[in-house]
């Protein structure tokens, strides 16, 4: 079946003329129409635009153009601005917002000929770990639709896991690519801070946000990341370094690779989950890697550090939503202050308001030093721990999440419990490091993720290590029942 083919294989069929881009787009659009209602993974399907883009890809191919993504379908997380298409960020605030330009990531993928089938559901303004904070409703996990797919890139992950699309874009501020990738059994990459442009990507926490990809394998993710990555003068945090040929590095042997086991990640981890990680380590040792235990003593402070830094930055970034220039405006404001307060109070959902208020509090007079400045200092301690670890090892390994997917509704009323879902992923964001989650087995018939974290700009090594694991295992090929 077409939906189980790799991006490389789809490209070969497009190049040989076995199938056209338009046929491929129609195939996946039909799959979305049939299967998305039970998942709610897409907020806005764009079938007409998709067919126009697919026909354009067919014309380009007929004119002799080739390219690994020419004619390959994708969906964009609804945080990326798409010219002429509603860009809601999962919020009532932007329910009526038609983006007037393309994000750089969208433009790069469009230029490569990838065909957008629609916009993916997400936690409101990317604030959530379960996709339950979306104005457009929760997303079902294709492995069990009573369970969450994770978040905030929950729609991107569920759609990729259900093979509604070969790949999807996502963003990761505290785990929002890796955690949903783990809970839905797909491969997700959060690149180094500054590796991928954030121009046109609606800001949440600017010292943490990074764009990336969710796909069915490390090989597919490598193909996509090569197109997405690179310098963008329109993003002042974009890093001006050449982009390595990620696909070309996938087959490098792992002999001699030093993998560090994060001791702090195993404290309190359930035995069944630990066993899956131990199995993965055996596979890596079989591939010639060496495993050593390392300790990052400040890592357990990641979550409280993050829940000062991220809300502080969010409260500042989201002040732009004022009911004046775009977005929701309340009816019949009695004065300017009433318009600001009610437009924001009615336009934002409960979790977004909670984060804005947390951030406002930690930045307010009398609390700035005790919370914000303190968190920035602890952030340095955590970052220094990683730096020291990478003097000894090439990459770090551990679980992506403490548990498999939980039930929709189980944690939504208890923010701190929800925040602790990201206990293993947040460290990489605080230190600006690249991280990758790949499927490594099942607990209670639900997928679990193995996380790899590397030094800055080591995406190629992470993808290489993930690909070698996927050559030796078939977890990434498993499909949820009903979506085979």
């Amino acid at each position: 079946m077409l939906h189980n083919l790799s991006i490389g294989e789809l490209g070969r069929r497009l190049n040989s003329g076995q199938i056209s881009s338009a046929e491929l787009a129609r195939y996946f659009l039909a799959r979305i129409e049939r299967l998305n209602p039970a998942l709610n993974a897409l907020i806005t399907p764009t079938p007409e635009l998709a067919l126009a883009q697919a026909k354009d890809a067919d014309r380009r191919r007929a004119a002799g153009e080739q390219g690994p993504l020419l004619g390959i379908p994708l969906i964009h997380k609804d945080i990326f601005c798409t010219n002429g298409v509603r860009t809601s960020c999962g919020s009532r605030m932007l329910d009526n917002f038609i983006a007037p330009y393309d994000a750089t990531v969208v433009a790069q993928l469009k230029a490569a000929g990838a065909v957008m089938l629609g916009k993916a559901n997400m936690d409101e303004f990317a604030m959530g770990s379960s996709n339950e904070t979306s104005f457009y409703g929760p997303v079902g996990n294709p492995w069990d639709t009573t369970k969450v797919p994770g978040g905030s890139s929950g729609g991107s992950a569920a759609a990729t896991a259900a093979r509604l699309v070969p790949f999807a874009t996502g963003t990761d501020t505290g785990g929002s690519i890796r955690q949903p990738a783990a809970l839905t059994g797909v491969t997700g990459v959060k690149p180094t801070y500054g590796r991928v442009s954030r121009f046109g990507m609606i800001a949440f926490a600017s010292s943490l946000d990074q764009a990336g990809v969710l796909a069915c394998s490390a090989e597919d993710a490598a193909i996509v990341l090569k197109v997405m990555a690179g310098f963008d003068p329109r993003d002042s945090t974009s890093i001006d370094l050449p982009v390595p040929d990620y696909p070309a590095a996938l087959n490098a042997p792992l002999a001699g690779l030093k993998i560090g086991l994060l001791r702090e990640f195993f404290d309190g981890l359930e035995a069944r989950n630990t066993a899956l990680i131990q199995d993965a380590l055996r596979i890596y040792r079989g591939l010639g890697a060496e495993t050593v235990e390392v300790s990052l003593p400040h890592l357990p402070l990641s979550v409280p550090t993050y829940y000062v830094v991220a809300p502080a930055e969010c409260s500042s970034n989201l002040s732009r939503f004022d009911g004046v220039r775009y977005g929701y405006r309340c009816t019949q404001p009695k004065d300017l202050l009433d318009m600001y307060k009610r437009s924001r109070g009615e336009g934002f959902g409960a979790e977004v308001k909670r984060r804005i208020m947390t951030g406002t509090y930690v930045l307010s007079a009398g609390y700035f030093d005790a919370y914000y400045l303190k968190a920035q200092k602890v952030r340095r301690l955590i970052t220094d721990d990683f730096r020291k670890a990478f003097e000894r090892v090439d990459l770090l390994i551990g679980p992506t999440t403490p548990t498999p997917a939980f039930a929709i509704g189980a944690k939504i009323d208890d923010p701190v419990t929800m925040y602790l879902n990201d206990i293993y992923t947040i460290g990489a964001n605080l230190a600006g490091l690249p991280g990758l989650s790949l499927p490594c087995g099942f607990v209670e018939e639900l997928p679990m993720g193995l996380q790899l974290i590397g030094p800055h700009f080591s995406e190629g090594k992470l993808l290489n290590a993930a690909h070698q694991f996927q050559q030796a295992t078939d977890w990434h090929r498993r499909s949820p029942r009903g979506y085979e």
Partner: protein, 96 residues
Amino acid sequence: MNLTRQDVEKIAHLARLSITEQEMPVYVTSLSSIVNFVDELSRVDTGGVEPMAHPLEGQHQRLRADAVSESDHHEKYQANAPAVQAGLYVVPRVIE
């Protein structure tokens, strides 16, 4: 430390957020639990540690030349505005 209703009202005002009567007790409880949770940081010894604002050491935000790089898109951008008149954003009267 637990926040009071008055604390939350003040924060909401600073953040320009209207909070309904039903929402208020939920925020008093949940914001208190978050503040208590992040209070763990106060027990960490950070003597002599410089605060870290940028995740990549040595990287600074670039400045660009102060030159016009965009053409005029105001009509397209204002199509998203709730109220526009003669190319201007319309808000409730602020000067009597």
